[in-house]
């Protein structure tokens, strides 16, 4: 606890009836560079604004140096923020923007002058003090915004997607400068971004968020090499995510081959998800000594490496990155080392819903009546569970054709099929395996055949 400068405990927040943060807990050590990473709408900015004091949490506590700061208004918190799109004051010049906080504190003129000049030098903007902020480029405005926050010597610097508005080249340069600044000043940084590459480059610790929940906390290498679930695996870097089966400790089966791996403790004959990074599949022209073979379907040069898609003899598609190119149509041999196979427990293996018995031929779940075989002996109104296998849910082009209407919310390619998460209009979720191609955001009708609904008392 002693060196936790920020401690977030069980934070929850809803806007209207939408829950944006669900029981978030993590801590930040003194001097650490922590990144909150996730897609837009995952709640990362909400956490940052709560730390800054712009939003109050519904539940949970935020501790700064061990004491709760709930009652401290934002203007008294020893924290400063670098805002998305900078939020510089357009009516003040560079100097007055930076001096804004110091002037409010009524510091003596010469003291202010000294501090402003020092911080301008730090962000390499010394010659710009009289400039109108709106005449500056995006990168320069960013430097002023950082200087404006740093000049107040905050205990923690909060950065809300500070580089999102810059072009790629400028973003790369600023990443390096931010990293250097962090090392030089020793101030704690909490950084919010949706850019996984930026997070991996800059952070000491990454907190991956999705839909208001923490998915994983770890160092960049942990997160990259050992993603804890398929969301993290898919969101961070490129990956092949495949259905597999843990045969026993250190032995896993996927793409209909058996592989050695380093994972233990999953039990025997357990369905799992397997993640293999594209650069971890060794590809060669000869098939001798290969674990399995495949045909090259495409090969694209990506600047440093080649990106290839291959199809195994059993019809699974894999993405591979290699420094050498391989001829499209040729047969190649492939090897995956045990330590490069990341095995994850499956979050679910089947759709399971709470249901009530309507009559001897119908049950009600997800707000609709479905026809199915109801086991004898169940009374009308009885609470039961129903299971529907992923591949038995049928998706239709038109919402009105289905028993339920929904939207494709998240999708994963699993080598030979797609695994989709569907959010219904009532915000229920179900998961579907399909060979058809859908896009995120597609509106779909959902239908389930009566013989595929299994009722469990």
């Amino acid at each position: 606890m002693a060196n936790h400068i920020i401690d977030i405990q069980n934070l929850s927040k809803s806007f209207g009836d939408k829950k944006v943060l669900d029981n978030i807990s993590f801590y930040v050590r003194q001097g650490e560079f922590v990144t909150l990473l996730g897609p837009s709408g995952c709640g990362k900015t909400t956490i940052l604004r709560q730390i800054a004091g712009f939003i109050n949490p519904d539940e949970g506590r935020i501790l700064l140096d061990g004491s709760d700061i709930a009652e401290i208004p934002p203007y008294q918190r020893p924290l400063n923020t670098v805002f998305q799109r900078y939020a510089l004051f357009p009516h003040l010049d560079v100097y007055d923007n930076i001096a804004f906080g110091l002037k409010l504190k009524k510091e003596p003129e010469d003291e202010i002058d000294k501090k402003v000049r020092k911080v301008l030098k730090l962000v390499s903007m010394s010659d710009y003090e009289d400039r109108d902020v709106e005449s500056l480029s995006g990168g320069q405005q960013q430097r002023v915004a950082i200087a404006r926050a740093l000049v107040n010597q905050p205990k923690v610097l909060l950065l809300d997607e500070p580089l999102a508005a810059l072009d790629l080249k400028m973003r790369k340069d600023m990443q390096i400068e931010l990293k250097e600044m962090h090392e030089k000043l020793g101030i704690t940084f909490i950084y919010v971004t949706h850019d996984q590459e930026e997070a991996l480059t800059l952070s000491d610790t990454i907190v991956v968020l999705n839909e208001g929940k923490i998915q994983q906390i770890g160092t960049p290498t942990d997160i990259y090499n050992e993603p804890q679930n398929s969301f993290v695996a898919d969101f961070i870097g490129e990956s092949n995510i495949l259905n597999g089966r843990m045969i026993c400790d250190r032995k896993v089966e996927f793409i209909e081959h058996e592989f050695n791996c380093v994972d233990e403790g999953f039990g025997e004959d357990v369905p799992v998800d397997v993640v293999i990074r594209p650069e971890d599949i060794y590809i060669m022209n000869q098939t001798e000594g290969a674990q399995f073979t495949a045909k090259v379907k495409s090969c694209t040069f990506k600047g440093v490496h080649y990106e290839m898609y291959v199809e195994t003899e059993n019809g699974y598609e894999l993405q591979i990155q290699d420094y050498n190119s391989f001829e499209v149509g040729s047969t190649v041999g492939l090897v995956i080392k045990p330590q490069d196979i990341q095995v994850m427990r499956k979050e679910r293996v089947c759709n399971t819903f709470d249901a009530t018995v309507v009559d001897e031929r119908h049950v009600n779940f997800l707000g609709e009546d479905f026809e199915c075989a109801v086991p004898a002996g169940l009374q009308v109104g009885a609470e039961v569970k129903v299971q529907v296998p992923f591949d038995k849910v049928e998706l239709l082009d038109y919402q009105e054709d289905g028993a339920l209407a929904g939207e494709v919310h998240f999708l994963l390619y699993k080598g030979d099929h797609y695994h989709l998460e569907i959010k219904t209009d009532d915000n229920d979720r179900l998961w579907v395996d399909t060979d058809d191609i859908w896009d995120k955001g597609d509106l779909v009708g959902i239908s389930i055949a009566s013989e595929d609904i299994k009722v469990i008392a």
Binding site: P74, Y75, A87, F89, P90, F100, R148, A149, N152
Partner: protein, 266 residues
């Protein structure tokens, strides 16, 4: 050819629109009681107007003064209240926002006479005797919506984080308002103030219903009563000519300058 007809049409309409004003201006330089009856060029009406050497001069002067006073006070109050309200409305969402904006629009949609009658009934109902207070409250009620609608677009253009940025740097809400929001909203507040000021200056119906019987007159009610009683006081002609000339010059200068500015920025 097409352009010629188009321009001719526009200028013909403008001529008709300006005819009464030009008419007033011309006959401000003669002394006849009835306009249209030229009795020789003279600046007498102007000298009379400025020296107060005519019948009812003190009533006209006090009406002028009242008009300005009421307009300044109402426009100031409307600007303060309307700016704060606009900042607030901008933050609100959903039904609350729509309802408040709808109510805000009512005085602008409502014809003057409805606003006037409704406020008349209010003051009767509350038993408030009518005078300066009631006229000013009435003017504030139809002026503020214009301020709100002038400030709102400036808020949309503003970076939404600016208020938080000020607070993040140690400004209290009051300081954030003074040092950051107001400087940003200034142009909107100014045009809101000017709109409110002119609405108040120009008002006749609402003042008419809320002025009471204490003899409080504004320029509009003075003209109304004057015209009904004994034909218009001739010294109003130079006054109107001067107001018209002043507005013409100010507006043309402002607009020519902003047009030049726009050209420069292009």
């Amino acid at each position: 050819m097409k352009k010629f007809f188009a321009q001719a049409y526009v200028w013909l309409l403008l001529l008709l629109l300006y005819a009464p004003l030009i008419f007033i201006a011309i006959f401000s330089f003669t002394k006849s009681k009835v306009m249209g009856n030229w009795s020789g060029f003279t600046l007498d009406l102007y000298t009379n107007f400025f020296t107060g050497n005519f019948e009812g001069s003190s009533a006209l002067y006090s009406a002028l003064l009242n008009t300005l006073l009421i307009a300044v006070v109402s426009a100031l109050a409307a600007t303060v209240m309307g700016t704060l309200a606009a900042i607030s409305f901008h933050r609100l969402r959903g039904r609350t926002k729509n309802t408040l904006l709808f109510v805000n629009n009512i005085p602008m949609i409502n014809p003057d006479i409805i606003t006037g009658v409704s406020l008349f009934l209010l003051f009767v109902f509350l038993g408030i005797s009518k005078g300066y207070m009631t006229v000013i409250l009435a003017h504030i009620s139809f002026c503020t919506p214009y301020v709100v609608l002038s400030v709102l677009p400036k808020l949309t253009q503003m970076n939404p984080n600016i208020y938080w940025a000020a607070m993040d740097l140690g400004a209290t809400p009051g300081q954030a308002l003074r040092k950051v929001l107001i400087p940003q909203l200034y142009p909107g507040m100014i045009s809101g103030f000017i709109l409110a000021f002119t609405m108040s200056l120009d008002d006749f119906a609402v003042t008419f219903f809320t002025q009471g019987t204490i003899g409080l007159e504004t320029l509009s009610t003075f003209i109304y009563n004057d015209a009904r009683k004994n034909g218009l006081t001739v010294e109003l002609r130079p006054l109107m000519t001067l107001i018209f000339a002043f507005v013409l010059v100010v507006l043309l200068v402002i607009n020519l300058r902003s047009a030049k500015q726009a050209k420069k920025n292009n």
